[in-house]
Symmetry: C2
Subunit: 326 residues, 2 copies
């Protein structure tokens, strides 16, 4: 049994706890938290330890799954922990992945541990699909669409507008853009042509709705470059109809083969997820298995999903996988 | 530059020739054929050698792509050649993959070469997607659908019916079955419920069309278990409308996460291919790159796509891939 521990107990940590419970070859060693351990009630009543004590557990854990945020937690935690433990994180600030990789690689190499960064669905499964598709169809172009799903960052941005009590924002791919991509025409698409933004907003009593709507729609970076719709709803409607955290998206590559590019092909990968954090956790847990195994064979340093042989993710033997799935 | 050679020069060999021409890090060493070399005119005027002379080229080729058929060629050629060369094949008789793997593994291990078998799209990319999806969503079920596409085996079976001059058979997934699977209801589907078979038949002059149609529709294994439609067309129509070799299909897994399976997820991978052999060749060429690289690092024995880290398929550096695609 692989002993897996969780660092951080938000939505991602809870999802990871569930995914470990569904893994026959793993046991949950415990949760590490910066909160007072006795204040934390976990879903499975697993052991809870203070983050300050984590070094006391060195050598007893096969892999840590670090469930912090990419803005401030992971840039510090992953390099620190990768020196002492095999780790997996879901670092998702795409532009900073090379920098994060370099820091984690230095630490993991020095500590002779295996660290797999940027695991989840994007980055993660979508990265894999962009890579496989490009390697097979070098003469082509790939497109990534997100949604329909809840963007936490955009929901938070709306909540910061004066007069807004609560909000939920959905990112929605434009159907006609998806169809244009699938046709193989390799369209050049602007930000506005690829995604719509739909906002459900609970206003404070007496707030100026027209001003709120205008502030949202013209907000730079978040909404100004998109076709955005704003619906004002009650707190009850928000709780009833928008409580979930669904997400998903599409990676599509079209490309040509033949001596003169005479044949076209479409590779499409899509996800439709009821729970963004639970799916991300499920991917993290599979890669924690790979990290523990790779390190067990003497491999170390930082890796991404691109570096991991698929069979390492499964608890099944190579023989079984070849028989059932190849 | 990697030196890649092709064994066998049918549709797959020609597709491989094109895919190598599209690979900036590869050069085509030549084609090996059982035919008289001087009788073969290749698309790129590359060197052509007799299959009998292949051992004279040992040590000069980074990987061989074996483009023979699974029925009689590959079970003999791949084990024979894997003892002396890094090889890639597209062995696609699913039930015999474990046996083929064992034979190739023995030869490749003895010869300290790397052999990747069953490369293409199914087996191949579809195998990968079945495996990734199962590892992420262990609590779920996967479905594979093929088509719309031309089945060579079924087209050949129709041609063997008395009175048939030529024929083309399309395998078509049933749209309502795809929708039922995507809904997450995990339906149990019979053979008939998953795929339709559509046949375009050129009859010989004066042939009994009703008898031909009946013989096709009741043919055991090939058609009897399916809803089959038969269209009689002219030779000209067959040449004009059915000359291509398109194919494709879908791998869909639905699964649940959460402590009580409260959230559902759908992972879908699909291919829409203008040319089945050219796409298969494109996959073979990417895995030939991996075979050569793995062996260069001292790895040997038989592998499948499940054993190959994705980054090995790309001519780009890890640094570049992380920056652009993760």
């Amino acid at each position: 049994m692989l002993k897996i521990a969780i660092v951080g107990y938000g939505n991602l940590g809870k999802g990871t706890e569930c995914a470990i419970a569904n893994s026959p070859d793993m046991e949950l060693y415990g949760v590490f938290t910066r909160r007072a351990p006795e204040s934390l009630k976990t879903l499975t009543d697993c052991p809870v330890y203070s983050m300050d004590s984590i070094m006391d557990h060195k050598g007893k854990i096969d892999a840590l799954i670090i469930c912090g945020g990419s803005a401030t937690d992971l840039p510090v935690q992953t390099p620190m922990l990768a020196r002492h433990f095999n780790v997996v994180d879901s670092f998702d600030t795409h532009a900073k992945i090379p920098e994060h990789f370099a820091k984690v690689n230095e630490a993991a190499t020095a500590g002779e541990k295996c660290a797999i960064i940027s695991v989840g669905w994007d980055p993660g499964m979508f990265s894999l699909n962009r890579m496989y598709a490009e390697a097979i169809l070098p003469n082509g172009k790939d497109y990534t669409f997100w949604g329909k799903g809840v963007s936490q960052g955009h929901s938070d941005a709306i909540r910061r507008v004066a007069g807004v009590a609560d909000a939920r924002q959905y990112t929605i791919p434009v159907e006609s853009a998806l169809e244009a991509v699938r046709s193989g025409s390799c369209p050049e698409l602007t930000t506005r042509e690829k995604h719509l933004r739909e906002c459900f907003v609970v206003a404070e009593e007496g707030a100026d709705l027209a001003r709120i709507e205008n502030e949202i729609k013209t907000m730079p970076n978040y909404f100004a470059d998109y076709d955005t719709t704003v619906h004002f709803i009650t707190k009850e409607e928000l709780m009833r109809d928008h409580a979930g955290i669904p997400h998903g998206g599409f990676v599509i590559r079209t490309g040509k083969t033949g001596l003169k590019g005479e044949n076209s092909h479409v590779i499409e990968y899509s996800l439709k997820l009821d729970s963004n954090p639970e799916f991300t956790s499920a991917v993290l847990v599979a890669y924690a298995r790979a990290a523990a195994r790779l390190n067990g064979k003497g491999d170390n340093g930082a890796k991404t999903v691109l570096d991991i042989a698929p069979a390492l993710l499964s608890p099944c033997t190579g023989e079984d996988l070849r028989k059932r799935l190849v």
